[in-house]
């Protein structure tokens, strides 16, 4: 017997045989309708920065007022003026010097301000982690209340890599002092459009 078969045989022999049905997840009702407000409040408390904008021009104006000195990349064609496109099929190491990456988010979650992004949003998996600063453009009406609703949206979705991102990279490993900017992005700005 192979190791695999041995393990499976042992598990089968030892696992309990009583009926153990899966619980119903619909028992978690949505508790709030103020999802956008909650999303913005939670995002601020976890170190992110919500910015309301009407269109891409306002994002451009914001970036002029709050400049990021250095390389800016974006997957959003409308932002190709301040940013260069994200190079497809490039070696991810080549992104090492990115100061700001601007990508689109699919939807946000009000209870924890996590934003779902997949590689379809930004071509290169390393982008939202390797950049010094991250900005995500999120439709203001694409906010769900909680994680159950989030996974309802993800039902049957195909992706090779997807990630919920909630705020900037952080650590509290040194005496529980919160420090933003551990290994990933030092700041996270969310443009709610």
């Amino acid at each position: 017997m192979s190791v695999r078969e041995q393990i499976l045989a042992k598990v089968r022999a030892n696992q309990p045989i009583d009926e153990r049905p899966l619980p119903d997840l619909t028992a978690f009702p949505v508790r709030t309708s103020e999802v956008l407000d909650q999303f913005m409040t939670v995002l601020s408390t976890i170190g992110g920065k919500p910015v309301r904008v009407k269109n891409h021009a306002e994002i451009e104006a914001y970036l002029q007022e709050n400049p990021y000195p250095g390389r800016i990349i974006s997957s959003i064609p409308a932002l190709q003026h301040p940013a260069e496109p994200i190079p497809e099929n490039a070696d991810p190491h080549e992104l090492e010097n990115v100061e700001l990456a601007i990508i689109t988010g699919t939807f946000g979650v009000a209870e924890n301000s996590a934003i779902w992004v997949t590689e379809a949003n930004y071509q290169q998996r390393a982008v939202p982690f390797i950049c010094q600063h991250l900005a995500i453009v999120l439709p203001a009406d694409a906010i769900v209340a909680n994680m159950h609703q989030a996974y309802e949206r993800l039902q049957g979705q195909e992706y090779g890599f997807g990630v919920f991102i909630a705020g900037p990279s952080k650590t509290a490993d040194i005496e529980q002092s919160l420090v933003l900017g551990a290994h990933g992005a030092r700041t996270m700005t969310v443009f709610l459009m």
């Binding site: 190791v3 993800l154 919920f164």
Partner: protein, 457 residues
């Protein structure tokens, strides 16, 4: 019998520095309070989330073999390569062979308690492989040549001044500087170089989904992702109990995990790995190492529901005052004390006794493991198996004689109170373990029974 120091002796060492114990205790209690606050913000859902999570895990334990097969099938279809390891040795050999196949003699690793359990770093070092732990806390204890003392906060026992000195020696930070911001920045620069230059990245796994073959890794720092997305080879190591049936169940567990661990609403990154990046490899190592055996122990199988949040440690009055290293096991605290005897009853027979059985661990557990009941069950099992040392056994026998006879109990009580009053030196001495680190209580003049008999009318 192994001669390695046991929990009482290791705790005594930790307790030698009283202010440090107080600080450690207060820090962990603060994290426990953050957990409470986070749980209370979801007060309408919290208990049903715990019940639901526990029920999902019940279903997993009852159908684990099928779920493992389904996960393997899906993951393989997604382009991952699945390996099976019966024990720690096989796990370590698989990882080494993958490194050799990749022609790599160094790699980055994000947090994985399983690899701690398997002593992977030591094994790879013996085989000429350099491993860099990339979680900040893990990097700190690695530089100090120590194991983590907590599964979520590996260097919770370190003071910032000590980390400053460690970084001064290893990373060249200014001597005497203990600013967390500066030290974190130094680690960021130091590890960024590692991320950019390593071709193999190993990660742990928080949840693996049987339905889709994807797995989820949660970090706050982004170190797992920095490692994986810049490497050619991703090795993900997981215990076979990490399986959950469907993707939608992640909603339940991700709501519970970070809130229970640190009081955050969710970790910064919850990364869902389904297929390898174009041109890269993804390996998944499924490890048994005693889990299938624990599954067969009816009284203890629920310990396999654990999602490694660490809440039971933060709340434990013993862990907070004895430190993670006193458990001499990869997973410390109450959950470690019910997992460890399954791995080695002789070596870990002391751990289920490192508890007051107060039950706080069970009360905070997000998947409702009956931890304190299992600690009690293990004590009985270990005694039956002859793993409990002679002194403890005799003590318990004597106690049983005293407590089962009212007459003996009353006369012993009288004798005890008299002794403590008249010759306190008989009990307040270093031979009495109850006198260590504490004062003996003032003995009452009469027992409650005597008082009651006098006053009951």
């Amino acid at each position: 019998m192994s001669t390695k120091p046991k929990h009482p002796e290791l705790s005594e060492r930790f307790n030698a520095d009283e202010p440090r114990v107080d600080w450690h205790d207060a820090t962990l209690w603060w994290i426990r309070q953050k957990r409470d606050k986070a749980a209370h913000t979801l007060y309408e859902d919290w208990e049903s989330l715990r019940n639901t999570a526990s029920a999902i895990k019940d279903n997993v334990l009852g159908n684990l073999a099928d779920y493992l097969e389904s996960f393997e099938r899906q993951a393989t279809a997604n382009g991952a390569i699945v390996h099976w390891a019966a024990d720690a040795t096989e796990h370590n050999q698989i990882v080494l062979s993958l490194l050799q196949q990749a022609g790599a003699n160094r790699m980055v690793k994000s947090k994985s308690m399983l690899t701690e359990e398997c002593h992977l770093n030591e094994y790879l070092a013996e085989n000429g492989i350099e491993v860099v732990d990339t979680d900040l806390g893990e990097r700190i204890v690695q530089l100090a040549d120590e194991p983590p003392s907590h599964i979520v906060m590996p260097c919770i026992h370190w003071k910032k001044e000590e980390i400053g000195e460690l970084f001064h020696q290893h990373l060249g930070t200014p001597k005497g500087n203990a600013d967390p911001q500066l030290l974190t920045e130094a680690a960021r620069q130091h590890l960024r170089d590692k991320f950019l230059s390593r071709r193999v990245a190993l990660t742990g796994v928080n949840f693996a989904v049987a339905e889709t073959g994807e797995f989820v890794v949660c970090t706050n720092e982004g170190n797992a992702d920095m490692g994986v997305h810049l490497a050619d080879v991703h090795i993900a190591c997981m215990g076979i109990e990490k399986i959950i049936p469907r993707r939608e169940h992640l909603g339940v567990f991700l709501r519970l995990l970070a809130r229970s661990a640190t009081g955050q609403p969710i970790t910064t990154y919850s990364s869902h790995f389904k297929s390898p990046r174009a041109g890269a490899q993804m390996h998944i190592v499924l490890v048994d190492n005693g889990r299938s055996q624990q599954l067969g122990r009816e009284a203890f199988r629920n310990s396999l529901k654990c999602i490694r949040c660490g809440a039971c440690m933060n709340t434990c009055p013993v862990y907070r005052r004895s430190g993670g290293h006193s458990y001499h096991n990869a997973v410390a605290g109450p959950i470690g004390a019910i997992l460890a005897p399954n791995l080695d009853m002789t070596k870990n027979a002391d751990l289920p006794f490192a508890s007051t059985l107060c039950g706080s661990c069970s009360n905070v557990c997000p998947v409702k493991i009956n931890i304190h009941e299992q600690l009690y069950e293990w004590r009985q099992e270990l005694t039956r198996q002859g793993k409990v040392d002679f002194g403890k056994k005799m003590g318990l026998k004597m106690m049983s004689t005293v407590l089962s006879s009212p007459m003996v109990y009353r006369s012993m009580g009288k004798m005890g109170r008299w002794t403590m009053r008249v010759i306190p030196g008989m009990v307040s001495n270093s031979f009495n373990p109850w006198f260590k680190q504490r004062e003996m209580p003032e003995p009452p003049k009469e027992s409650f029974r005597d008082w009651y008999l006098k006053n009951r009318s």
